[in-house]
């Protein structure tokens, strides 16, 4: 009994420590926030050019309202830091040492509109959102899909691309359509679906076919590897990387039936409404003038 009490006390202390840290950090931010925000606003005004006149008054108001709650527009002054998982061609992948792809180019275009310098950080897909929430990076861009549950924890920009979840199988597979998967699962067969951790593919598959049939891997390439070795029966993943994987590996095919279609958007911290508004404004312009479509066409070659 004594031990149990000690244990509870220890846990309570952990929590106290945690909340203690949280609030003291907030206070620290408050102190730093004011000068940083003012600097930012001043720096950006000349750089924005045409938009400057329209946006400056709005920004001024916002800045005043928000100053007590948070720091500058971006984590680092004058730099738009983007977090991504560069193993997702053609949205983001390595070309030598640099990360290129649809997301990288769209982010560069947005950064140019906002007069910021773009910096791309490569990390685990699952860590991107945490990094956004904790203010380590400004935006998360990695072919991220908007869902209700996620919207409660992070803001999403306007959607800039449409993603399709498809099914990859081996050429000699018995699975010929998405319905076959459902039929086999319903029949109680030992069917395994490989997915990438924390992706919507994994979420939908778990919802539709149950947790026991879904095996998640840290990245898409590992899931495809598992499919090739016969560890799983099919892989559910976004269409574009699927095309690349199938092209790079013999004996794999993509099923004709699509599993799910979804919208990709940029994730931004809930604490930074201002950045969300600015990015949405920039993104809307880029969509309107065809830049986004151009970038998409450049990487996605119609079959």
């Amino acid at each position: 009994m004594k031990k149990l009490f000690a244990l509870l006390l220890a846990m309570a202390m952990c929590f106290a420590l945690l909340t203690g840290c949280g609030s003291s950090k907030e206070t620290a931010d408050d102190v730093n926030a004011e000068p940083a925000a003012t600097e930012d606003a001043q720096e950006e005004t000349p750089a924005e050019g045409e938009d400057a006149q329209e946006e400056t008054p709005a920004e001024g108001e916002d800045a005043q309202e928000e100053t007590p709650a948070e720091g500058g527009l971006t984590v680092a002054d004058g730099v738009l830091t983007m977090g991504t998982n560069a193993a997702f061609p053609p949205y983001e992948f390595y070309d030598g040492d640099t990360i290129v792809g649809i997301d990288a180019e769209i982010a560069a275009a947005i950064a140019e509109k906002l007069g910021l310098e773009l910096q791309i950080v490569d990390m685990d897909f699952g860590s991107i959102i945490t990094a956004v929430q904790t203010g380590k990076i400004d935006i998360g861009m990695a072919g991220m899909t908007v869902t209700e549950e996620r919207l409660q924890n992070v803001n999403f920009s306007t959607s800039y691309a449409t993603g399709i979840q498809v099914v990859i199988v081996t050429e000699d597979s018995e699975i010929a359509s998405v319905d076959d998967i459902a039929a086999k699962v319903d029949a109680g067969e030992d069917l395994l679906i490989g997915c990438q951790e924390a992706t919507t593919g994994a979420i939908y598959a778990t919802g539709d076919f149950g947790d026991d049939h879904v095996i998640t891997y840290p990245n898409g390439a590992t899931a495809v590897q598992a499919l090739q070795k016969g560890k799983v029966d099919c892989v559910i993943i976004d269409n574009q990387p699927a095309l690349n994987f199938v092209a790079a590996n013999d004996g794999l095919v993509i099923l004709d039936t699509e599993y799910v279609t979804e919208d990709y958007a940029i994730a931004i911290s809930k604490d930074n409404e201002e950045l969300l508004n600015q990015i949405n404004a920039a993104l809307d312009e880029l969509i309107a003038d065809g830049t986004v479509q151009e970038i998409l066409d450049k990487y996605i070659v119609a079959e």
Binding site: S23, G126, I129, L192, E197, D211, I215, A226, K231
Partner: protein
């Protein structure tokens, strides 16, 4: 402060209650404990065997060395070098994607692979811990045992090992704790252990604080229990010291 409570409320709701998410933790603890327990047993057996070979070889007189023992000693040394010299995650990936290529990703297979990998890995560390224990016992103990008529095996069994065991217990407990926590890397091969549960919830909800703190606390409690058990065992063994 109010905002923090709001965030925590949402976090706790999404982490545990929504879609019965708490099930991920319950099942995850089961998997983590299974993998840890079987790896521990496997690692302990392997480690003690290797330690006996290594220390028996090293304790021979210089000029009369047994060649058979020498051969096994070399094998043991290679095993220790390779296993201690490569990351556990790499060993796990090699075991699953190279050595066990072609096996289905069923939960039973995944657990078997994890137990084998962690058992072999832990065995290497246990071997050195146990060897340090055997070597720490004064040579005179063995000599005294032999001079009262015990055979080598008997002297080992009744004189050296009991004392050595007591010496290595703290280090062994340490290895067990390390192993328990290290099993969290089984997520890379797709086994749904405790850590994977938190990762799945994070992927569904983009909620990081609560799931990860929850598993941190669960791991902590498991380690506390293990420490408590080891403390009990140590105390019992120490009773014979008080004469």
């Amino acid at each position: 402060m109010e905002k923090l409570i709001e965030v925590l409320k949402l976090g706790i709701y999404q982490t545990f209650i929504l879609k019965d998410n708490y099930q991920y933790f319950v099942r995850g603890v089961g998997i983590t404990l299974q993998v840890t327990l079987f790896s521990l047993i496997f690692g302990l057996i392997l480690g003690v065997l290797v330690a006996i070979i290594r220390s028996a070889h090293d304790q021979q007189p210089e000029n009369r060395r047994n060649p058979v023992l020498g051969f096994f000693n070399v094998l043991a040394k290679i095993y220790l070098t390779v296993i201690r010299g490569t990351p556990t995650m790499v060993q796990l990936l090699i075991m699953w994607f190279v050595i066990w290529a072609g096996t289905r990703s069923s939960e039973a297979n995944l657990i078997r692979c994890a137990v084998l990998t962690f058992g072999i890995n832990s065995g290497a560390y246990v071997a050195e811990i146990v060897r340090s224990g055997i070597m720490s016992i004064d040579k005179g103990q063995m000599e005294a045992g032999r001079s009262v008529g015990l055979s080598y095996a008997q002297a080992m069994r009744f004189v050296v090992i009991p004392q050595a065991f007591k010496n290595v217990l703290p280090a062994l407990g340490n290895e067990m704790i390390t192993l328990l926590k290290e099993t969290s890397i089984v997520t890379v091969i797709g086994l749904k252990d405790l850590t994977k549960g938190a990762m799945i919830i994070q992927g569904n909800t983009y909620q990081a604080l609560v799931p990860f703190f929850a598993i941190a606390i669960i791991y902590l409690v498991m380690v506390l229990l293990l420490t408590w058990v080891m403390g009990k065992v140590e105390r019992r063994l120490r009773e014979s010291d008080l004469r």
